[in-house]
């Protein structure tokens, strides 16, 4: 950075009237009173009676409760790469990896816990996931009676997927070999003298 790139900003100075507060406060009253009395119609039009009705949310990028996606075979799509837990600024994702029981994949999460109370719903995990296995759903109603209940384990996260897959289908995970069909077929096994032995 060079000196000419630096733009020096000088804060504007308050006038005497502003420093007296009173005119400013009166101006403030104007605003609040306008909202209070004149904008009633707008307020009523935009009102959503929350538990009875729900606000329309942006389904594609609302950041609510997490879910763990399943691939078409109903298996957990996660490959336990720890990218989400690495990216997580709140350190709320805890994974234990293990050898997968399936032939097309080697790693899968034996344990996958998200502490929904610790989570700040920033969506970094979704960004980091190389196989689009973890996603944030538009569901924001998250209640429990104990802290323990708010630690979502793998089963619960998969259950969230089952509940939300109609609202928000899984993104197309054509990013890697893992998960859906992807380009699994594109990799060509080739015959060698050894494989024939």
């Amino acid at each position: 950075m060079r000196d000419e790139d630096v733009i020096e900003l000088k804060a504007p100075e308050l006038t005497a009237a502003e420093r007296l507060y009173l005119p400013q406060i009166v101006a403030g009253f104007r605003t609040t009173l306008r909202h209070m009395f004149l904008e009633k119609k707008k307020r009523d039009e935009n009102m959503v009676q929350y538990p009875d009705a729900k606000r329309q949310v942006r389904i594609d990028n609302y950041r609510g409760v997490h879910r763990l996606n399943k691939d078409p075979d109903g298996r957990v799509a996660c490959v336990a790469c720890f990218m989400c837990s690495t990216a997580c600024p709140a350190h709320c994702i805890h994974i234990e990896a293990g050898a997968s029981p399936w032939p097309d994949r080697e790693k899968y999460p034996v344990k996958f816990d998200i502490d929904e109370l610790r989570c700040i719903y920033c969506g970094m995990c979704e960004e980091a996931c190389p196989c689009d296995a973890i996603e944030l759903t538009p569901h924001y109603e998250l209640v429990a009676r104990t802290r323990q209940e708010m630690i979502f384990d793998k089963e619960k996260l998969l259950h969230v997927f089952e509940q939300t897959k109609h609202d928000k289908p899984r993104k197309n995970p054509a990013v890697t070999d893992y998960g859906l069909t992807g380009n699994q077929d594109k990799a060509v096994a080739r015959p060698t003298s050894q494989t024939k032995v």
Binding site: M1, A11, L14, T31, T32, M36, R43, R55, V57
Partner: protein, 476 residues
């Protein structure tokens, strides 16, 4: 991919409302209840009057006036306590509604039509909540603090001259002021000064650093802002009455029609502002600011202990408003400049006075709320600066000026009426205008940046950046 918008499936809560839900949300039922509540008391009172009116009057005629006054005082105390507590509940709802409207929301609207039953629900909730006492608090003080706060807020009410005196048809008078003290104003100031104990002790006893900070801030703040109030009262005493009795100060305004607010507009603003600070309300709620201190001094309080703090805050607002009405706003007199009810001591006039007094209080409280939801919170240094470098010098200047005015004989004459005191009013308005001009001149002479930081920050030294190309790749 285009963004899809959609409503999420509703939760099951309100698909199956409970019978209670159905009842309390039915406007018809709520209207019926309200109607009954509005109609029944007058009918009942009328019936009671018809049944027991004459014997009651006879009894009162026969009673010793002193005993009658004593009983009447008790009734007034009960009535005021009843009004204050119920008004608090109503004000809480009002505050929530007003804040909601200001913020383009609806506010509570689930309990009862328009949320009217919300105070009842709140009250029930306060009583049913678990009363948590943390393990390491100083238990006696922890329990004592909310009591102090509440009691101190309540014991100022007896000196307020609610509706002047009532002359009984058969002779003799009753005064609606429970305690007509010689030192009424000092009493108010003294009791207000005690208010800080509740807050400081709560903060101390909680054994929680946020609560502690809250308490400390509250102490500094309340001490600072008592000074402008005291100076303001001093000015009134100098110019107007020469007495500490609240009812006399009040009577003087009704007699001349010259409310003190017109004589001392700047002083009124100072005392009003100081009152906001005394009640710990926004923009001076430094003691409990949520963003920094969670809830300040009452962080550790729950259930009815917390409710007591809540009640105390609203009671403080009411008493502060009542004092302002008495000292500056002409008390129970409906209009300035004329003396409509002055000297009219009939029982029906007392009833009207009582209502006007409370109406003025509620109007001031409305202003409280409007200010709270309009003006952002002060920073602590700004708060202190406002008191010590702004309000107190101005108040002192006013005291000096008024002293000079009194010395040269410009003083309100209670017997001269509005016109007779016009000269005094003109002088005072001139003095206030000159003072305002002086303040503005002073403010325009000094400079303050918008950021609100301290006035004389050192210049930041700009270090020239390295010329390009000297960074290079380091192999080491």
């Amino acid at each position: 991919m285009p963004t899809r918008w959609g409503a999420l499936p509703n939760s099951g809560i309100d698909k199956n409302p409970t019978p209670v839900d159905r009842i309390i949300r039915d406007p018809k039922i709520v209207a019926a209840v309200a109607l009954v509540m509005l109609v029944l008391p007058p009918i009942g009172l009328t019936a009671a009057w018809l049944a027991f009116g004459q014997p009651l009057l006879d009894l009162m005629k026969a009673t010793d006036p002193a005993i009658l006054q004593f009983v009447f005082s008790l009734i007034m105390m009960g009535l005021v306590l009843f009004i204050v507590i119920h008004l608090c509940a109503a004000l809480i709802l009002a505050e929530r509604k007003i804040s909601a409207f200001i913020q383009d929301r609806q506010g509570p609207n689930r309990v009862g039509f328009f949320g009217l039953l919300q105070p009842i629900a709140d009250g029930i909730k306060f009583m049913l909540k678990e009363d948590v006492t943390p393990a390491r608090v100083d238990k006696p003080i922890f329990i004592l603090a909310p009591c102090i706060a509440f009691v101190v807020a309540m014991i100022s009410f007896p000196v307020i001259p609610w509706a002047g005196t009532v002359e009984l048809p058969w002779g003799g008078t009753l005064t609606t002021q429970v305690a007509s003290l010689d030192i009424g104003v000092l009493y108010i100031l003294a009791i207000n000064g005690l208010g800080v104990y509740g807050v400081v002790l709560a903060g101390w006893a909680s054994n929680n650093k946020y609560a502690h900070y809250g308490g400390m801030r509250a102490a500094a703040q309340m001490l600072s802002y008592e000074i402008p109030i005291g100076l303001g009262v001093l000015v009134l005493l100098l110019v107007s009455s020469g007495t500490l009795r609240l009812e006399v100060i009040q009577d003087q305004q009704t007699a001349t029609g010259l409310w003190n607010v017109f004589l001392h507009p700047i002083m009124f603003l100072l005392v009003l502002t100081a009152n906001y600070a005394e009640t710990n309300r926004a923009p001076f709620d430094l003691a409990e600011c949520e963003q920094e201190l969670i809830a300040g001094f009452h962080t550790e309080y729950s259930s009815m202990k917390f409710a007591l703090f809540f009640l105390a805050e609203y009671a403080h607002m009411i008493i502060g408003s009542a004092v302002l009405v008495t000292l500056f706003l002409g008390g129970w007199e409906p209009l300035p400049g004329v003396s409509l009810l002055h000297g009219n001591n009939t029982w029906w006039a007392a009833l009207i006075k009582f209502h006007i007094f409370w109406g003025k209080i509620i109007g001031l409280i409305g202003l409280y709320m409007l200010v709270r939801w309009t003006v952002p919170r002060f920073r602590f240094d700004q708060l202190m600066k406002l008191a010590w470098k702004g309000m107190i010098p101005i108040a002192m200047a006013l005291v000096v000026i008024e002293g000079v005015l009194v010395a040269v004989g410009i003083k309100v004459d209670p017997t001269a009426g509005f016109v007779g005191n016009f000269g005094v009013l003109a002088v005072h308005l001139l003095v206030n205008a000159v003072l305002l001009g002086f303040i503005l001149w002073q403010l325009s002479r000094t400079k303050a940046p918008v950021t609100g930081r301290q006035d004389n920050l050192p210049e930041i030294e700009v270090v020239p950046s390295r010329p390009a190309g000297q960074g290079g790749v380091s192999h080491a």
